[in-house]
Symmetry: C2
Subunit: 428 residues, 2 copies
């Protein structure tokens, strides 16, 4: 049987990994598939730049500066898009689908913003878009939601989908360092970009949650409908208090199905029980806890970034495309989804602030919350010299998110606080 | 499009769950697949026994006492075997495959003993055997190995595949009870059979490891080539010492690829680091830690038994069969595999025994091991009244398994021990 011809756009970290794996596993994959896989064409910005690290894996002649030579070549059955960017990849994918090619991509941003159109074109053309590598790199979370849990109504997802944030939070916790120091460590280790905004703001995790939510909500969820808060304001003090309270702080992507059938979708730092299995996911690793009505609770854990871990999933998708396995779950025309606004979500909260140690200050703060219907589960106030500022930590019972937000706003205006309060939501 | 017709053999715990899920998710599955799924015939031992619990999900007329009415009905495209047993299911599966049907099964014992023949017939007939539910129930470990990690050389698997043993060990640890008490608790909770031998002996885990090993070794591994040891001799004292040493005891199914390309496959109780993520898998849950050369370390966790968790995977397999997704990895003609015999595996060991507290006894024991090339990493001997028997715990450095086994045998003959030693292998 003739080789399966694919074309690639991009040949950076992920692309090089794909070429190396396809080379290394060539015989094994050929034996499994009954045919070889040939990388027929690779479009890159500068085709003349020497790429010695991949010349052992692919003929130097396959490089081109012209994406049309990949997309318009009808002998190429599959477009593998590993270039990055947001809008240009949309154009390439749409055009490739229209020309009868399947698409494999690791590009979460493009799918989060242009997914509706891309999946629609794929449906019209009877082609498939495979995107396992776009969420949590090596972890086959897309496959698990599309296939393994297809018999389930997913009712809950709690996921650590951003390795940069998880690495920073782990360093803050284990080394007792500030956010800024941990961020620099992450940058030195290659776990954070020079401009880390996309990661630390929670946006990247929100893109990924939007992609997962397509599958288990059977609905298109615009990224801007997902409440998103980053980790930039978490401090060393919060880490210490979290440990004291038997919690650990993680940036979580959360999806919960309400009894009324609406979805609560959000991304924010959360305190979770220190002895929960999700809390054991440390360093740069990713994981997803998923609960299905039949399967019960599941957890899947692994590398959420890196050349080979990402390429591992890209190649798994290439194999699916060669075999002709068509994803169905998450690819069908989408229903409309009902969302629970963050304002109505009822959670416990950790609140830390600094107050002047004057008589009655704690009483005034607790009665401030009490009058707004927020009851306090516990208070910690370390002893301090009289008249010196002291940190105060409150844990609330469950209260609607907006009530807590508004109460904190008002409390700031009262003038009792020496520092704006930090609030971290608690997930049980 | 006409409904997809399947026939089922067996309608016990798993079968009822399958019928309920197919009913509950009927509309969702039909929307995804573009056609309905019809349970056209169910063969059971006693078709006349009332089955009110499933009459809401399926027409009572589909029940038959004659398996031939499932297997020989050419309008039925798929056999779902959830009856249990070992030899009879082999005959049903082979006959169904020869008649052009695909097969979905939850039956690990039949596949462990007759898998070679069944997969061979499937290949000859161009049909597929789907068996996700046969290992770790709800956890899509087969799919992960067949698809998600297809680009990888798997180099290591450490898995908790028997929920009965994991529940018993958890109870012993958390409640401080003896093996016998924990076993009875497991039986009362429905986590252990009246005759628990298959589970507590490690045999069931070995069957499952044999099935997984087919996929990642690309080889047929006879169950009797897998070294297997059960949990029956683990005591409350071992649990306490394990905690003291910062370990936890788990029944592990282990596969390791040696640098020479041979596979070390075994099932036995093992001490693992208490703070490792695998050690957090408690109660009746299952999990598999898998390391691939590209993906790196992965963990997947979930329910390893139960009606709905198992049925969740059976229905996922039914969906695959309806879609026509053909597994390739693990289904190809098998290569021969080179195994590392347990005798040559080099591990650290925990050794507990009871000695008479006479002067020089510890010295004689350590020199006994020293003379055989086993060096001792640590010794614990709680203080006892002079002349009274005292427990002694040794942790060895790495030593070949056979050397340790023989040394323990010889030590027993020396007459220093008041109780045969307990030895638990340590996995780092």
């Amino acid at each position: 049987m003739a080789s399966f011809r694919l074309g690639m756009i991009g040949c950076g970290t992920v692309g090089s990994g794909v070429l190396e794996i396809l080379h290394r596993r060539r015989d094994a994959l050929k034996r499994l598939l009954g045919r070889g896989i040939e990388v027929a064409r690779i479009a890159v910005r500068d085709p003349d730049r020497p790429r010695h690290q991949v010349y052992g894996f692919v003929d130097p002649d396959v490089f081109t500066g012209n994406v049309a030579r990949v997309i318009e070549d009808d002998s190429i059955e599959l477009l593998v898009e590993v270039a990055g960017g947001v809008d240009a990849p949309r154009d390439w994918m749409v055009e490739a689908l229209r020309r009868g090619k399947d698409v494999v991509t690791a590009n979460k941003a493009t799918l989060a913003f242009h997914g509706e159109e891309i999946f629609q074109v794929a449906r019209e053309c009877g082609r498939s878009v495979y995107y396992e590598a776009s969420v949590a790199a090596a972890i086959p979370i897309i496959e698990m939601l599309q296939n393994g849990l297809v018999a389930n109504q997913v009712t809950r997802v709690l996921a650590i989908l951003n390795g940069t944030c998880n690495y920073i939070l782990t360093r803050m916790e284990l080394d007792g360092v500030d956010y800024g120091v941990a961020l620099r460590q992450a940058q030195e280790k290659g776990f954070a970009e020079a401009d880390p905004t996309l990661d630390v703001s929670g946006e990247d995790a929100a893109h990924k949650l939007a992609l997962l939510a397509r599958i288990f909500t059977h609905s298109y969820v615009p990224v801007d409908r997902i409440f998103t808060e980053g980790i930039q304001r978490i401090s060393r003090e919060d880490m210490a208090f979290a440990e004291d309270l038997r919690y650990r702080i993680k940036l979580l992507a959360i999806a919960k199905l309400s009894e009324e059938g609406a979805w609560d979708l959000r991304v924010h730092p959360a305190m979770i029980a220190r002895d929960s299995i999700l809390a054991q996911v440390q360093e740069e690793y990713n994981a997803a806890y998923v609960k299905g009505d039949a399967a019960g609770p599941m957890l899947i854990y692994g590398n959420g970034a890196g050349s080979f871990p990402t390429a591992s999933s890209v190649v798994a998708d290439i194999v699916r495309a060669v075999k002709g396995d068509r994803p169905v779950n998450g690819e069908e025309p989408q229903e409309s989804v009902q969302l629970v606004p963050i304002e109505n979500v009822s959670l416990r909260n950790y609140i830390r602030t600094i107050v002047l140690d004057v008589p009655g200050v704690l009483g005034r703060i607790t009665s401030h919350f009490g009058m707004r219907g927020i009851s306090i589960a516990s208070i910690r106030q370390p002893e301090a010299k009289v008249g010196q500022p002291v940190p105060v930590v409150l844990v609330t019972h469950k209260a609607p998110d907006k009530v807590v937000t508004d109460s904190l706003c008002e409390l700031e205006r009262v003038g009792l606080l020496l520092e704006p309060p930090t609030r971290i939501r608690i997930e049980e």
